[in-house]
């Protein structure tokens, strides 16, 4: 296999793909459920979120759905990254991860030069998630990687709206 392909399929990605973390469901309510689709490939993801209303901490997160290795691995890594974090930290992670992913998309659209993206990335520790950076070289796969993050964001927004 060419090095190119291994940029995409890093070992840690294949590991999350083969042994996804936090698979399962949570009872709704008290948990919140949000769904995401990738219209390109038909991938689907369901994110169950249990957020403590007092501390705003993501007490638990579970994932269902089907998808390619990139979307599955990204989902698994996302769940591990946000579990136990506050909602604010989770949102910062979403922004940072999208910044990591969207550099190419943004250039494509010719809007902005990526400098504000750098700001989003600053001070956020992505850890394992950085393994997904290779996806940027494969533009069609970016949506695979961001699907679960968009669904998480949607879930957090819905929880916030319901709490108001």
């Amino acid at each position: 296999m060419s090095s190119n392909l291994e940029d995409l399929y890093r070992e840690v990605i294949l590991d999350h793909y083969r042994s996804p973390r936090n698979r399962g469901e949570l009872p709704v309510p008290p948990a919140h459920r949000s769904e995401g689709f990738n219209p390109l490939c038909g991938d689907e993801v369901t994110v169950f979120l249990d957020v403590d209303p007092d501390t705003a901490i993501v007490r638990d997160i579970k994932i269902q759905g089907q998808g390619c290795s990139i979307s599955q691995a990204s989902t698994s890594m996302m769940s591990a990254a946000v579990k136990g974090q506050t909602v604010d930290e989770a949102r910062r992670l979403i922004r940072a991860f999208k910044a990591l992913m969207s550099i190419h998309e943004t250039r494509l659209e010719g809007e902005g030069d990526g400098s504000d993206l750098a700001a989003d990335l600053e001070g956020v520790r992505l850890g394992d998630l950085e393994a997904l950076q290779g996806v940027v070289k494969f533009p069609v796969r970016i949506k695979c990687a961001t699907l679960s993050w968009n669904t998480l964001q949607q879930g957090l927004d819905e929880i916030a709206a319901a709490g108001e």
Partner: protein, 415 residues
């Protein structure tokens, strides 16, 4: 298989397609995505380039020579498309952007003029979104009932309840060849059944016209939709072919120049067929390119084209089964006499997207996804498949390259 057909000289054909010489990461591209869109031969590229270089002008509008030449070439292309599908007259051949627009045209114009709450439209579980979306929009707007012809477990239409489904229906809209399964549906009996119930028949012939000699009079179809880009022609053009009496009775769809006979402040009268349905400047050079594509296919002979694809499909089905046995799931009929050259498949526990990515690394282009047929995917119980599809320029060596790349992909994800 037709025993009289001379095999296509595929090596010679390949030389006509510049894109097939493309190298990807040092390897000659293996293009197996013609069901999504085909490559184009030199003659098509030249016809379009010549039009722009020598006689381009807007059509039906100028009295000067370039405008006359451009109009003549545009209308000659219409005549070619008309003849290629066996329509009765150029008046029955409306140029649109693509098959999707053709079906929408029917839903908006014929549908809104003829269907009312409680009427039924019959579709099938193997339709492409292009033949679902327009009817769902109409159904929601007008409270129309959509009914679905189910699929048998051997990937064919289950016609056992057709009579019941057609009771009170106004339209049967069905694909002539599934872009996922390859299944060819026998259209004439469907037309007879629909007409027996006073329903009209719309055929989504997007995957059929490029691959099998088509005679829409023999089909007795009322509406037929197809696109140029899947049959060696350019992007940006397709056609709706429909019976003249029906088109005549339909209200216009898009309003504007060209489709108008006269305009006053208080209303307009429409132009003759087919221009009544062609508002604004049409896809002029695209039509001319499509005409050249049809010349190319006609010169090969559609019997020969079909024969080549049957042979190649048989070869591919055999090779995949032999190499992967039970590890590969193939979604579609095994009998090549009732199917086209689109082969959908899946390996357990390896997502179609990942397969496709590894194949790309070796220059093998297949499609991965739901192929715009999500209801069918749900029926098959899978989120996505990989699909390899063949056309006049594909070879057995390319099937071998596909199999070899799949072996590598399987190995990569099984480690």
């Amino acid at each position: 298989m037709n025993l009289d057909a001379m095999p296509l000289d595929v090596e010679r054909i390949r030389r006509d397609f510049p894109a097939l010489a493309r190298e990807i990461r040092g390897q000659r591209v293996v293009y197996l995505d013609s069901a999504a869109s085909s490559q184009k031969p030199e003659s098509v590229l030249r016809a379009m380039d010549d039009a722009y270089r020598c006689y381009y002008a807007n059509v039906h509008r100028g009295v000067y020579q370039m405008a006359e030449e451009s109009t003549a070439a545009f209308e000659a292309a219409r005549a070619k498309v008309t003849r290629f599908v066996g329509a009765r007259s150029s008046r029955e051949l409306v140029f649109v952007r693509n098959a999707t627009e053709a079906i929408n045209l029917v839903a908006y114009s014929w549908g809104r003029a003829n269907l009312q709450a409680g009427d039924a439209v019959v579709l099938s579980h193997m339709e492409h979104h292009a033949n679902i979306g327009p009817w769902q929009m109409l159904a929601e707007e007008r409270d129309i009932e959509l009914r679905w012809i189910p699929m048998t477990d051997d990937f064919r239409l289950d016609l056992s309840t057709l009579d019941e489904l057609l009771r009170g229906a106004r339209l049967l809209a069905v694909t002539a060849m599934s872009n996922v399964l390859g299944t060819i549906n026998d259209i004439r009996p469907l037309a007879d059944a629909a007409h027996a119930h006073d329903a009209l028949l719309l055929v989504d012939a997007c995957q059929y016209v490029p691959h099998v000699a088509t005679d829409i009079v023999e089909w007795d179809a009322d509406f037929v939709a197809f696109s140029a880009h899947k049959m060696l022609g350019p992007s940006g053009i397709g056609a709706l072919c429909a019976r003249e009496e029906i088109l005549d009775a339909m209200p216009p769809f898009l309003g504007g120049g060209e489709m108008i006979r006269d305009v006053r402040l208080d209303g307009f009268t429409t132009n003759e067929l087919p221009w009544k349905f062609e508002a604004g400047t049409p896809a002029i050079v695209e039509a001319i390119g499509w005409g050249a594509a049809i010349d190319y296919l006609a010169a090969l002979g559609m019997t020969e084209v079909r024969d080549h694809e049957e042979r190649l499909t048989r070869y591919a089905l055999d090779a995949l089964t032999e190499r992967f046995g039970d590890a590969i799931h193939i979604y579609g009929p095994r009998d090549v006499s009732i199917r086209g050259g689109a082969i959908s498949f899946l390996f357990d526990d390896i997502h179609a997207h990942d397969i496709s990515q590894v194949l790309d690394q070796r220059g093998v282009c297949v499609r991965a996804g739901h192929h715009c047929a999500k209801p069918l995917m749900r029926r098959l119980g899978v989120p996505a498949t990989s699909r390899a599809s063949f056309y006049v320029y594909n070879t057995e060596a390319e099937v071998d390259a596909l199999v070899a790349a799949l072996v590598a992909a399987e190995a990569f994800f099984r480690i």
